[in-house]
Symmetry: D2
Subunit: 136 residues, 4 copies
């Protein structure tokens, strides 16, 4: 397992446009946080779908890297998202990822997305990452 | 919440071909069990995908009915399954469903499928049910 | 590309419980057919979800094998199915698969499922197969 | 069916942050286009996943509105995306949506995403929209 600071530094370097923050790193699980500003909202005052997808994607990426080490080439192959409730426009989005499997070539995880302070899932994601073959 | 016996009787009447058994009914969650025999296996000695899908579908159906009452017309609209590990040919399949949302017209839940006695998920399902409008 | 007879013989040998028939083999596409009897129906007189899933799974398997040759170890890793219309209880189910990608380690395809004689999709599947690494 | 100009004007008003353009409106199908600039790229010089998701979401939204008329409250309930090939960093993304079903309460469609000028799908989406009940 890695240190939060090292993981955050890697994310900031690899995804300079991202503002997702690593909150915690656990055994096959991670929590991340995205502050919400006007740029993340869509009409009706709700967080846009692509923002939710991004938070889930980063939560999963961090969870996978925390297991297999820093491998910048891991790529998402599948992402299935169910939109369940309208997220608050005034709260950060929290993403909690649990890895279901980390195999040699594929990792599968689920991510619950929440408006900070609430226990109701606003969106639920299941996603698959392809892990590149080890180089010798 | 319903009694296990009443739920099982409903299932047996509605799905006479099914041999899935209700194990427990909780708050927005259920556990079901499918004994495995040769008819459920595919070459290689593993439980077939459609059997796993059936167990997940019944677990979700039972969880939804446990919340909204017996409504025989609820139908699956979407099911997404990830096959993660080879299930044992010698163990029952256990399906554990957690409802993520029960709305007026849609219910969404996730189901973990296990070989009895193991904590490793063999397949993971997220599925949506359409709930028919209430008749007056 | 393979001959229909050779593919059917392989399926019959590998999946002796299956009664799905190969109808045609094309360039990255296949059509299969499942006769429907009472054993395939669920209450309400409609084809059960697991039967539809099985037809889709076989259509995809046949399409993949038609591209990469007979590799009995290819396995489904993900299957996403949307149930769109009630299939007829009196018609065969036709599955039409188009491969979206055949990579080194993953193949992705979509399958439209129809009641024979109708152009309305009864269910739509997108599914991923893991292709085992080549042995030398 | 609507005029392209009227649909574009609606999109521009409802989603002022979006730069997706409506290219064509057909019978249960639409084509949209997203110019790609540096802001849409991720490290490695490829179009980011959330950008692809946004293009698919808009293509579907436009296809649904083209069938049922302007109903600003339609919301995505499920989106399943498979990432198939690396999109070009130098080409626009084209999204082609085909509706699989437009029911009273749900619409389901599939969207192929392409780098302009190529016939290879870079990502494939199946998505569901909830249609609000008609007001009298």
């Amino acid at each position: 397992m890695m240190q939060i600071e090292a993981m955050q530094a890697f994310l900031d370097r690899e995804f300079p446009q991202s503002t997702v923050k690593v909150v915690s790193l656990g055994d096959k699980s991670t929590t991340v946080r995205q502050d919400i500003s006007d740029a993340h909202l869509r009409p009706g005052g709700t967080v846009s779908g692509p923002v939710l997808m991004t938070v889930a994607d980063v939560a999963m990426y961090v969870a996978v890297l925390n297991e297999i080490g820093i491998v910048p080439l891991a790529v998402t192959t599948n992402l299935n998202i169910n939109f369940l409730r309208k997220p608050s426009a005034e709260c950060a989005i929290i993403g909690v990822c649990h890895l279901l499997k980390v195999g040699k070539s594929l990792a599968v995880g689920e991510v619950g997305l929440y408006s900070e302070g609430s226990e109701d899932v606003v969106a639920h994601v299941v996603t698959t990452y392809a892990i590149p073959p080890k180089r010798d």
